[in-house]
């Protein structure tokens, strides 16, 4: 077995570039996708006829908590909305606004509210100034009322936050870091496990069978090597984020490193299962990306599973190892789970791994190619 591992390492050192590129791509992906603020809905706006009033309204809108407004031209706005890139657009005119959408959603009415409120507030201030002027009150005084109301309100609001017992806390940085690293590592592991298929095709496998090496050692050598490589990749990515960026692991960094073990094991087993099921390397190469991408979508690597409401999708996610990997990693960091809670995803992963590994090797041995 040592010999196999040694040979594999030598092979890796000769061609390390795919591994390096994959790791780099994963780091970049996790980095860039975590940048976008997901908690504000981006809404393009365009001012039809600029005036003092519209300036005030734009200023008012920029303070909205739920939306992020950015200015574009009217053509761009139409394009963005019609292509489905934004959920809606706002056209600002004096005294009226127009919301452009391509499909009516909950956001539409919310946007209507926010825009209406901004107009209401600006309009009210104007009306108030007018009314004050008719009573002979200076404009400055009205302004001073506003600033007084803002600086010393009759009551203050003290904000604290709370967290429900199983509230979904969204940390976009960790979500995309975990999601993309767990997703990309599937490729690294799978292609290494698939080297069994190459070895079989090129006759190396047969030669090994003839040698005094035992069968279990042949499997173990291949699988352990895939495991180590996958683990190193994940650990490398996490170290990059831990020490080079501002990603917080909520004090669970060591636990995270430990929790990667069952996940990587489950993925090695999954690759073994697929290797056992396919006939040729070509098939393996065709199947793996499709399986990995589908698992990533279903298991919540691309978007947090917590926002999914469909029972079908949630039921499907239960059979995907990636789901439990994400659950365990998020549990150890964002949710601050204890050992007891972490045991569930870990044991499911181990169980899945053992099962898939068993079936995979069984298939492999029954077939002669």
């Amino acid at each position: 077995m040592k010999g196999i591992l040694f040979a594999k390492m030598k092979m890796f050192l000769r061609k390390p570039w795919l591994f390096v590129i994959m790791t780099a791509v994963c780091v970049m992906f996790a980095f860039f996708t975590s940048q976008g603020g997901v908690n504000k809905i981006p809404i393009p706006y365009s001012v039809a006829a600029s005036s003092d009033q519209t300036d005030l309204i734009v200023e008012e809108l920029s303070q909205a908590e739920a939306f992020h407004f950015h200015e574009v031209t009217q053509d761009e706005l139409n394009e963005l909305v019609s292509e489905g890139k934004r959920e809606g657009g706002l056209i600002i005119k004096e005294g009226e606004f127009n919301i452009i959408i391509s499909s009516r959603t909950g956001t539409t009415s919310l946007l209507q509210q926010v825009a209406g409120k901004a107009y209401g507030e600006v309009g009210q201030k104007e009306a108030l100034k007018e009314a004050a002027a008719s009573k002979g009150i200076q404009e400055q005084e009205v302004e001073s009322w506003y600033s007084a109301a803002e600086t010393s309100p009759v009551f203050s609001i003290k904000q604290t936050s709370f967290k429900g017992s199983d509230t979904f806390v969204y940390d976009p940085k960790l979500q995309s870091l975990f999601g993309f690293s767990l997703f990309f590592v599937i490729y690294t592991i799978a292609y290494n496990v698939a080297s069994i298929l190459y070895e079989k095709r090129e006759g190396v496998w047969d030669r090994m069978i003839l040698s005094p090496i035992r069968k279990w050692e042949m499997y173990a050598g291949n699988l352990i090597y895939s495991f180590i490589l996958g683990y190193i990749q994940l650990a490398l990515i996490f170290f990059v984020f831990r020490y080079l960026t501002e990603v917080k692991f909520y004090g669970g960094f060591h636990t995270v490193l430990l929790l990667l073990v069952p996940y990587v094991f489950a993925i090695v087993a999954l690759s073994m299962l697929i290797t056992g099921l396919v006939k040729k390397v070509q098939h393996f190469n065709a199947v793996i990306p499709l399986v990995a991408v589908s698992m990533a979508m279903i298991g919540g690597a691309y978007w947090p599973l917590e926002i999914v409401e469909s029972p079908v999708l949630l039921a499907l996610s239960k059979v995907v190892p990636l789901t439990y990997g994400m659950e365990a990693l998020k549990g150890a960091t964002i949710n601050g789970w204890g050992l007891e809670q972490l045991m569930l995803p870990v044991s499911v992963l181990v169980l899945m791994g053992v099962l898939m590994m068993g079936i995979g090797i069984n298939f492999m041995e029954k077939r002669h190619i």
Partner: protein, 422 residues
């Protein structure tokens, strides 16, 4: 001759039905699941913007009003002022106003549901993660406000707002409402100090005309249509990587060398790869959209334009297939096919917007339109909404240009002679 080659390539695919099945079946499953499951999320559905607000009132505003009125009686103000103040105090009860004007405003009913909670239940409410915010009104809140407004007492009360960490969007919404109430109320108080009569209901209520319209009154997209397009333009890319590996397999099995020995022009072989990939890509897109039309009612307003975009997209995929073949031949391995199907397809899918808009940056959006799937998606969306063919010109042009550039690269890189197989 080329026809026979194409037939051979197609037969190869048909003899590998697993791949065919997965190339068609997987996207269909995903369209079904995602279309239904993420529909509400993608469209920012009703569920995600409903705030559940708990109000906990420690005091009783009626009692506090009485306290205030007693305090007022004992103050040294003239009798007229006292009666005027007690009148307006009754109208300006802050808690009542907050509830009736803001939180229970019928217009906001769709976004906010208000639940009044007993003070003892605060801890349980905090554990219940369905609440977005908890507003805690301390004892003496109304009395202190009224006193500070009318009797110039210094003490100003404090409202407590607990925000649910996990419900950022809805708690932001409630906070917006609460701060604007705070501002309005303070403003009213300030105005009341100087001149009561300005504050008539008329001047505070301004008419705003706001209307909602579809983009040039086009049909809105459904989420199934969105995913049908998103997934199809992504999965069609896998055709290219698969054709690349099939072609490489032929080199490894010395089929390519034998063809050269048989004095077949390598360009015939090359063209057959290109054409087969185009045919398969068009077939895949056709089957996917056909099934979506049959089962999910995702139909195309203009079939002719749809076919044109599909052909352009297939051309782009075909040229990628050819390029991957050349690269695989050069590298003596399937690495490039694999690299394309793992890394590049993922990058393209994200940047091109197959999973919805993940990036808010305009720059990435522009890059996204340069990818074949991104351009294809944009064009399909426009056609879906009934735009004429002329409006997708730029996307079509982009796809054709992309195909030409990639194809030239593929031709340049394709090995001009055989016999170099290891």
């Amino acid at each position: 001759m080329i026809v026979q080659f194409i037939k051979k390539q197609l037969l190869l695919i048909i003899r590998n039905p697993q791949i065919l099945l997965i190339l068609i079946g997987m996207p269909l499953i995903l369209i079904t699941i995602l279309g239904f499951a993420l529909g509400s999320v993608m469209n920012g559905g009703e569920v995600s913007v409903k705030a559940k607000v708990a109000i906990i009132e420690h005091g009783d505003s009626d009692q506090e009003l009485n306290h205030f009125l007693k305090k007022l009686e004992s103050s040294k103000l003239p009798q007229e002022a006292k009666s005027a103040i007690s009148q307006s105090a009754k109208q300006l009860l802050p808690v009542e106003q907050l509830k009736s004007e803001v939180l229970k405003n019928p217009e906001l009913k769709k976004y906010i549901s208000v639940h009044e909670i007993e003070p003892e239940a605060l801890k349980e409410t905090k554990d219940d993660d369905s609440y977005s915010v908890i507003i805690e009104i301390p004892e003496g809140f109304s009395e202190q406000i009224l006193s500070s407004m009318f009797l110039k007492e210094e003490e100003r009360p404090q409202l407590k707002l607990y925000r649910n960490e996990g419900k950022e969007l809805t708690s932001n919404l409630t906070e917006d409402l609460l701060t604007s109430f705070q501002e309005q109320y303070s403003l009213a108080a300030k105005i009341g100090e100087s001149d009561e009569s300005i504050l008539s209901a008329d001047s505070m209520d301004t008419e705003v005309i706001g209307k909602v319209s579809n983009v040039e009154d086009r049909e809105p997209l459904t989420s199934t249509a969105y995913y049908a397009v998103g997934m199809s333009v992504m999965f069609v890319l896998y055709i290219a990587s698969n054709m690349g590996s099939f072609a490489y397999q032929e080199k490894e099995d010395h089929v390519f060398d034998r063809m050269i020995l048989a004095n077949v022009s390598i360009w015939k072989y090359f063209t057959s790869i290109l054409l087969t990939t185009i045919i398969l890509a068009a077939l895949q897109l056709g089957i996917l959209f056909g099934v979506c039309a049959l089962f999910y009612g995702v139909t195309w307003p203009a079939l002719g334009s749809f076919l044109l975009v599909t052909i352009a997209l297939s051309l782009a995929v075909g040229s990628i297939g050819a390029l991957l073949t050349s690269l695989n031949y050069r590298a003596h391995s399937e690495t490039f096919s694999n690299f394309f199907s793992t890394v590049i397809v993922t990058v393209f899918a994200f940047v091109g917007g197959s999973f919805g808009e993940m990036f808010s940056s305009d720059f990435i959006r522009k890059i996204g339109n340069l990818t074949p799937n991104g351009a294809g998606m944009t064009a399909y969306f426009k056609l879906f909404q009934g735009y004429p063919l002329s409006s997708v010109q730029s996307e079509l042009l982009m796809l054709v240009l992309f195909s030409i550039i990639i194809l030239i690269l593929a031709v340049l890189l394709f090995p001009k002679e055989g016999g170099t197989a290891k």
